[in-house]
C-alpha cells in the first residue's frame, strides 16, 4: 500500500529544490545554503522546539505562517550558523526571507527560514546575498539531494525518505529530509525536518497529523538528552495530487497519517543511527503498557540512559541498567511484572522476567549485541499499549566531537 520511492522533498509533485556552498562553510565542497519551493501555495504545519531559547528563524517562520494563515511557498535554510542568541537575529532571518522572495517573485511572508550550526555568533548575510540568484536559478524538480546536503552539520550522511500511496484513487506522494546527528548537537544547533506532500489536506488536519506523529517518532528520539534551540519540523501540502481535500478524521486521514508515520519514523531512525559518534542504532519497544503515554515515557527513559548507552557500545548485556531506567521513568506500573529481552538480527536473549534476572548465555548475548541495530524489548505486563523510542550508543567519539566542536 505504501511504496518507497526516491526524491526526498521533491518526491511530491510541484516541489523544486537546490543547495550550494555560499561560503558559510569554508569547505567549498560542502553545501551550506538550501532552498525549496512549491509551485503553488501549500498548507503548512509546524512543530518547534520547546526550549525557552528559540532561534530567530523559528520566530520569523511562526510570524510568517501567522500572517499568511498557514500557507507557504518556499523555505530557505542554512547550516554552520544557527542565528540564535544574536541581537540582530530577527533582522537577519527576515533578510533571508526577503532575499529568497525577491529572487522567486514572492512576498517575504510566503517564505519560511531555518538555520542550524553554532549559536551566539553573528550570521554573516553577505554570502547569502551574493549567492541568492544562483540558488534560485538552480532550483530543480530533482534538486532534493543538494538541499539535503545543505543542512548537514556533523551528520555523516544525508537523510531523505519518501513514499507513494493513494487517496480516493489518486496517487499521492510524501517525502522529506532531515538533519540531526548530535540530536541537537554541539552548540545545540538544531535538528531540522522538512516534509512535503502533494496530497490535499486542510491546514487543521495537517497540523493534527504532524502533532500526533511527531509525538511517536521525532519526540521519541534521543541521542544525548539535550533539547535544541532551533528544532523545527515543517510539513507542506500543496494539493497537486488532486485528491478530495482531507478535512476530517476519516479513512483518508488514517491513510495519510500512516504515510507520514512511515517517513518520519524512517527519518528518526536515520537520525538515531547517525547520532554523533554512534556505532549502533538502539530501538526500544515497550509493550503491554497501561496506556501509550506510559509506553512512550518508559521507552524514552531507557533510550536516554547514559549507562545503558555505554553498555551497548561495550556490547555488554547489562540488563540491570535497562531495569534501572525503567524504574526511574516517571510513570505508574508494577515493576515486578517487567520482562526484558535484547534482540538483533543475530537472535534474541531473554535477560529479565518479572523484574528479576534470569540465567542467559553470555556468549549468545555477545553475539546478539555484536550487531549494528539492537532492539530492547520491554513488556510491562500491565495493559495493551505499545510505543517505540530510538537512540544510539555513547562512545569515545561522541565525547571527542563534543569536547572540541566549537573551536
Amino acid at each position: 500500500m505504501y511504496k518507497v520511492i526516491e526524491g526526498g522533498v521533491c518526491a511530491a509533485r510541484g516541489y523544486k529544490a537546490y543547495g550550494l556552498n555560499c561560503g558559510l562553510n569554508a569547505d567549498k565542497n560542502k553545501n551550506d545554503l538550501g532552498l525549496y519551493v512549491s509551485d503553488v501555495p501549500a498548507n503548512t504545519a509546524g512543530v518547534y522546539t520547546t526550549n525557552k531559547v528559540k532561534g530567530a528563524p523559528i520566530l520569523v517562520t511562526k510570524a510568517h505562517l501567522e500572517e499568511t494563515g498557514g500557507k507557504a511557498r518556499a523555505v530557505i535554510m542554512n547550516s554552520k550558523n544557527a542565528n540564535t542568541c544574536n541581537a540582530d537575529g530577527i533582522i537577519k532571518a527576515e533578510r533571508m526571507c526577503e532575499l529568497a522572495a525577491d529572487a522567486l517573485g514572492l512576498r517575504p511572508e510566503e517564505v519560511l527560514v531555518a538555520s542550524t550550526g553554532v549559536i551566539g555568533q553573528i550570521l554573516p548575510i553577505e554570502p547569502i546575498e551574493s549567492h541568492i540568484k544562483d540558488l534560485a536559478a538552480g532550483l530543480d524538480y530533482d534538486g532534493n539531494a543538494r538541499a539535503a546536503e545543505a543542512i548537514m552539520t556533523t551528520d555523516t550522511v544525508k537523510k531523505e525518505y519518501a513514499v507513494e500511496f493513494t487517496l480516493g484513487g489518486k496517487v499521492c506522494r510524501l517525502g522529506g529530509m532531515a538533519k540531526g546527528s548530535g540530536m541537537i548537537h554541539p552548540n545545540m544547533a538544531t535538528t531540522l525536518n522538512f516534509i512535503t506532500t502533494d496530497a490535499a489536506v486542510s491546514a487543521e488536519m495537517l497540523q493534527a497529523a504532524l502533532s500526533e506523529i511527531v509525538k511517536v517518532t521525532y519526540n521519541c528520539l534521543s541521542v544525548d538528552g539535550d533539547t535544541s534551540t532551533n528544532d523545527t519540523i515543517l510539513l507542506h501540502a500543496n494539493g497537486l495530487a488532486g485528491n478530495a481535500e482531507i478535512t476530517d478524521r476519516g479513512e483518508d486521514y488514517g491513510v495519510f497519517k500512516q504515510a507520514l508515520y512511515i517517513v518520519m519514523s524512517e527519518l528518526t531512525k536515520m537520525l538515531a543511527k547517525d547520532g554523533e559518534g554512534a556505532t549502533k542504532l538502539l530501538e526500544c519497544t515497550v509493550s503491554s503498557a497501561p496506556d501509550t503515554d506510559t509506553a512512550i515515557t518508559v521507552a524514552k527513559s531507557v533510550i536516554r540512559s547514559p549507562l545503558l548507552k555505554c553498555a551497548m557500545f561495550g556490547e555488554d548485556a547489562n540488563w540491570g541498567r535497562v531495569l534501572c531506567a525503567i524504574g526511574y521513568a516517571d510513570a505508574e506500573f508494577d515493576i515486578n511484572k517487567v520482562d526484558v529481552d535484547f534482540r538483533s538480527a543475530a537472535g534474541n536473549v531473554a535477560v529479565c522476567r518479572g523484574g528479576a534476572g534470569v540465567p542467559f548465555s553470555e556468549a549468545q548475548a555477545k553475539t546478539v549485541l555484536g550487531e549494528d541495530t539492537i532492539y530492547i524489548d520491554v513488556e510491562l505486563g500491565s495493559g495493551s499499549a505499545t510505543a517505540k523510542a530510538w537512540g544510539c550508543d555513547l562512545t569515545y567519539e561522541y565525547v571527542k566531537i563534543n569536547g572540541d566542536y566549537r573551536s
Copy 2:
C-alpha cells in the same frame, strides 16, 4: 563556629566502625564489608532512592526502622554486589542483619543494611558469615576509614568529612562517609551516605533536617543523570553530646542543620569530583531566581547536560550549551534576563548578558577553564532565590568504565 575535624562516621562520640575484605572482592587488598555501631540506640532518619526498582537492603532497612520506631544501633554494608533484583534478596539482607546482631548482642531489627555493586547477581552469604566475628572484633572508635573503604566501588578515593560545633554550650560532632563515583554508577549500583552525630535530636527533627538538606546537596548532584536502585542516606543521632534535645525549629535546629549542610555539601562535592572518569568538578550556582525550586531545577539542568559536560572536558567556553540547558529546564522565568559567567581560581569570564552572547577573550576563557574546579554562575534576574548543583565533566574514561564494567 564550625570546625573541620577528622573521623568520618567515628567523629561523634560513641560510634565504632570497621571494615575488611571478606572475599566478595577478589582483590584481598580491598575492603568489601563494613560495619558501624553506636554505643547507645540512636534516632535514625533515612532517605532512599525514588526508583521503582529498590534494592532488597532498602526494604529491610525501612522495615527495621518501622519496627523500632526509628531507632538503630548498627549498620552493616558491603560492596561488589547490590543484592537487587534477586529472588532471595530480602532473605540475604535480613541474614546480614541477623549475623551482625548475633555478633554484637543486638536484636536484628536494631541493625540496618546497605549494599552496593552489580545488580541481578545472587549475593553469596558465606563470605559474610565466615567474617562476621572478625568484623565485630575489629570495631574501633578510630575505624571509620576502614568502613569508608569497604563501600568503595569505582570510587578512586574514600570520602569522609566531619565538623565540630556547639549547642547550648555542649560540644557536638557530626561526620559521615559516602561512596558514589558513577553516581549511581555502572550496574546502577548505588550511592550510599552514612552520617552520625552525638547531638540529641528528636526523630522528627532529624528526619526534617535530613530531608531539607538532601534536597539542596545530594539531590543537586548529577554525574550521569541516572538514578540508582540502592541510593541510601542514613543519619543517626545518639545524643551523647548531652545537649538539650532539639525538638522544634528553634535556634539549635538551625545550627544543627547548618552542620549537616556543611558535611553533606562537602561529601556531595567529593562525589562529583570523583565521578567516573571525571577530570573536573563543576559547580553551577543559580542566583536571582524567583524561588528556590526554580533555582534548583535550572542548576540541575545545566549540570546534567551531556553537551556542556563534554565542552568542560574540552575546556571550551561553549556558553550556548549553558543557555540551552537553562532554556529547556522545566521552570518559569524570562530567558532574556539571563546572565552567565564561567569562573575558576584563574579568574572570571562573562559570556552571556540578557540572554545574548557578549564578546570575551578566548585566551582568558581557556585559562579559566583550565582549572580543576569550574564554577558556572547563572543570574536569572527574576528574584532573590539561590541554589547550587554539582557535577563533573564527561570524558573518554567515563565511556570506557561504563562500556565494560560488568564483564
